[in-house]
C-alpha cells in the first residue's frame, strides 16, 4: 500500500464522517469534495457507496470502543465509571451520531454485531451497577444504552441551539443520565 493511497483513504473516511453527519444522504460527490479528491478516486478504494459507509461505520465504532475502553469502565463504582464513560462519549462519540441513524435500517443481526465491541465494554458496567443496586435492574441493558445515547444527543442539540450555557451541559447531562438509569445523582 503506497503512502498517498493511505492518505487518500484516510481523507475519504474523514470526509465521509463529516459529510454524513451534516446530511445522512450526502452524495459521493460531496464526500469527494470534502476529501479534496476526485469522485472516481473513492471508487478505487471502495467498490460502492454501501462499502464506504460500512467502512466508515466500522471505524467509528472502533474509535468509540477505544475511547470507552480508555476510561476503564470496569473499574471503581458503577456510577463513577459511567460518569467517566459519559465524559468520553460526550467528547468522542458525539460526532458519529448521524451514522447511527444511517445504520438503523440494517438487518438487526448485523447491527447487533457491529455494536458488539461497544456493548462488550458498556454491558458489564451497566450490569455491575444493576447488581449492586446503583442502576434500575428491571430494565434491559439495551434500553439503558439507548437512554444514554439519546440524552447525549439531546445535550448536543440543546448546546448547539444555545438553549443552555456550554459550561452547564456536562453536569446536567451526567445528572440526568444517572437519574434516568435509576441512580441517585447525589
Amino acid at each position: 500500500m503506497r503512502a498517498d493511497a493511505e492518505r487518500s483513504i484516510a481523507a475519504i473516511l474523514e470526509a465521509a464522517v463529516d459529510a454524513l453527519t451534516s446530511d445522512p444522504e450526502a452524495s459521493m460527490a460531496e464526500i469527494a469534495r470534502r476529501a479534496g479528491v476526485v469522485r472516481a478516486t473513492i471508487y478505487v478504494h471502495f467498490p460502492s457507496r454501501e462499502a464506504l459507509i460500512e467502512a466508515v461505520t466500522k471505524r467509528a465504532i472502533a474509535d468509540a470502543t477505544q475511547a470507552i475502553a480508555a476510561v476503564e469502565p470496569a473499574s471503581g463504582e458503577p456510577a463513577a465509571a459511567l460518569r467517566r464513560v459519559l465524559e468520553a462519549a460526550w467528547r468522542t462519540l458525539g460526532r458519529f451520531h448521524a451514522l447511527v441513524a444511517i445504520n438503523a435500517r440494517l438487518p438487526a443481526a448485523e447491527l447487533h454485531e457491529r455494536h458488539a465491541s461497544v456493548m462488550a465494554h458498556l454491558a458489564p458496567l451497566v450490569a455491575r451497577g444493576q447488581d449492586d443496586g446503583t442502576f434500575r435492574a428491571n430494565v434491559p441493558i439495551a434500553w439503558h444504552l439507548a437512554t444514554i445515547m439519546a440524552l447525549v444527543h439531546a445535550a448536543s442539540i440543546e448546546l448547539q441551539a444555545d438553549r443552555v450555557p456550554a459550561a452547564d451541559v456536562e453536569p446536567l447531562l451526567i445528572a440526568t443520565v444517572l437519574g434516568a438509569l435509576g441512580a441517585t445523582p447525589a
Copy 2:
C-alpha cells in the same frame, strides 16, 4: 372543497403515513399507489414532496397535542400528571413512529418549532413539579423538556428497530423519564 377532493386528501395522508412507515424514503409513486390515486393527483393538493411530509407531520403533532391536553396535565400530582401525559403521547404517537425518524434529520430550529405546541402543555407541568420538589429544581425547564422529548423519540426508535418488545416500552419509558427528571419512580 368538493367531497371527492376531500376524500383524496385523506387517502393520500393516510397512505403517506403507511408508506413512510415501511420505508422512510418511499417515493411519491409508492404513496400514490397506496392511496389508490395517480401520482399527479398528489401534486394537485400538495405542491411538493416536502409539503406533503410537512402536512403529515403537522397532523401527527396536532393529534398528539390534543391527546396530551385531554389528560389534563395541569391537574393532580406532577408525577402522576406526567405519567398520564407520557401514556397519552405514546399511544397517539404509536402510528407515527416512522415520522419521528424522518423528521429527526430536520434543522434543529424547525424541529423545536414544530414541537412548540406540545411544549406549551408540558412546561407548566414541569414547573409545578419543580416547585413542589418532585422534579430536580437545579435544572432549566428547557432541559427537562428536551430530556422528555429525547427519551420519547429514543423509545420510538428502539421500538422500530425491534430492540425492545412493544408491550414493554411504555413502562420503561415512564420509569426512565421520571428518573431522569429526578422523581423517584416508585
